[in-house]
Amino acid sequence: MAGASSSVKSSRPLGKATRDAFGRALESLGESFGSLVVVDADVGNSTRTEWFGHKYPDRFFNVGIAESNQVGVAAGLAAAGYTALVSSFAAFITCNAYDQLRMSVAYPKLNVKVVGSHAGISIGEDGASQMGIEDVSLACSLPGFVVVVPADEASAKAATAAMLAHQGPVYLRVGRPDVPKVYSDETIHFELGKANTLQQGTDLTIIANGLMVGPALDAAEALAAEGISVRVLDMHTVKPIDRDALKAAAEETGAIVVAEEHLAHGGLGSVVAMNVAEIKPVPIRYVNLGDQFGESGTPEALIEAFGLTSTNVAAAARSVLAAKRA
């Protein structure tokens, strides 16, 4: 399924897949980041690092289907002074090479950039084995890692630049299908660790990232028609989380919904809950993949079947609002 593309339906105009935006950004940033090298593991045509590889063949290494080795090699390159980027499917790079990420990258705090593509169930027909649904949790469990989940084309591009400019290990999660546009290149403001407020509101806050930002905005629109004022945050950086934005959301709106294309355990929802419980406990509801593997199907059918829809986000919002008012 290397070259083929699919898209996620939405009322918003469709942009490129975040993996494509990442791949293009990497290719163009190769010039200003002269010490950037890329290590592939036989999936560069899927993760789009091959575009960098075509332009800079001397700075691109394909070590074959061997993610553990891939990460170890990148660690060596980074320890020798290069900015080393590794990319594979999110499931393989985080799960297959986890000990190498822990021991060879995180522990010595090396400047390795880890990009997991094909995140979530929205990859579709390939099914569970290829779907990274636990990658954010695993990446967050690596001390010192920054963990980023961009929502669309423009933010994936900006996140790629921010990741390279950051000194230290970063995990960037990107997806396979074309996704609705949330930002434009002209208006986007992107800062690691700083949530973007997409819409102000007072009754509750929907916090989302990645694929779920679009449905969060759609849900907010539907709720507005019912007279409910919703704040929408794009929490693109899961670690370090924007505690100021969480504090404001809890204090000013008093109710939170967290939506993400990830398992319940250890993702954005967990991180939000952990911090809100400490700052100012308020009712929270979650829209995520729960505690189950994905399966084969079209992206659209899976998104419906697993409930990653604006309808479900809106239902969670009504539920949390009822809890707040109870």
Partner: protein
């Protein structure tokens, strides 16, 4: 027990046509990766090697086949359908929501699947486990594992190879589908693992190198493996990726054809090439 070779050739053709039809219908999948492996799968399931009863797929004494290169699932599903494990028309549900025939094999959903695969590199270790279990329970069960050639890049393969060598697992046979390609190009360029037989031999395996798209050679190699005592067996199966539709792949200018179904408009041409039996 010897099955007439013509009968196996006919089955191999049916499997190839099924692979093409089901992946084109699904709109995704890996027909070329499936087609290189057809003669090996045909020999195992229909040539009298795999003691597997579709009416009793959980028989603890059965022989086992693990498709470690799980993306070639269509060849396995086609064989299991012809074995009578499920209705033939169910092949057309491949990769659809709710189907038992997932994009990669899922042992929870379908009997006859001996390992849930799709993350490359893991099947041989499970095969070592099955082979050790068979030795412990003294039930004479044989285990066959098929890996890709690109898949050999995974270190776990060699961890498994070393452990099988240590225990002298002569009830274990690993077939490497040496089709010369992996996802991003030639397997000789991306990461050449030659000599594959030499590497397995160094870990204490008995090895053979054969033309894996020649049905008789496959049968002979599996017979030799079965009578071999004291060491695990590796068969380096030299194949062509997409064997059966090579002319069409040449016409479409892609000798790897990795991870893409035959476009619907070429399906009948592909089927005709399979029927004609041209390489």
């Amino acid at each position: 027990m010897s099955v007439p070779i013509d009968q196996l050739h006919a089955i191999a053709k049916e499997l190839r046509k099924d692979i093409l039809r089901m992946t084109t219908e699904a709109g995704s999948g890996h027909p070329s990766s499936s087609m290189s492996a057809v003669e090996v799968v045909t020999a195992l399931y229909f040539g009298g090697f795999l003691n597997f009863d579709a009416k009793n797929p959980k028989d603890p004494n059965r022989d086992r086949f693990i498709l470690s290169k799980g993306h070639a699932a269509p060849v396995l599903y086609a064989a299991l359908a012809h074995k009578g494990l499920f209705p033939h028309e169910e092949l057309m549900t491949l990769r659809k929501l709710g189907s038992r025939l997932e994009g990669h094999p899922n042992m929870l959903r379908l009997g006859g699947i001996e390992a849930s695969t799709g993350s490359l590199g893991q099947g041989l270790s499970m095969g070592v486990g099955y082979a050790l279990a068979a030795r412990l329970s003294q039930n004479g069960s044989q285990t066959y594992v098929m890996t890709g050639d690109g898949e050999l890049g995974q270190g776990q393969i060699w961890e498994a190879a070393a452990s099988a060598g240590k225990y002298g697992l002569d009830n274990l046979t690993c077939i490497v589908d040496r089709n010369g390609f992996q996802q991003t190009g030639s397997a000789f360029d991306v990461l050449n693992m030659d000599p594959i037989d030499g590497k397995f031999a160094a870990f204490g395996w008995s090895t053979q190198v054969i033309n894996g798209n020649d049905q008789q050679e496959v049968i002979d190699a599996l017979n030799r493996a079965r009578s071999n005592k004291g060491r695990p067996n590796c068969i380096v199966s030299l194949t062509k990726k997409g064997f059966g539709m090579l002319n069409l792949m040449t016409k479409l200018n892609d000798q790897n054809f990795h991870g893409k179904p035959m476009p619907a408009k070429y399906l009948e041409e592909a089927i005709a090439e399979v029927e004609a039996g041209l390489a």
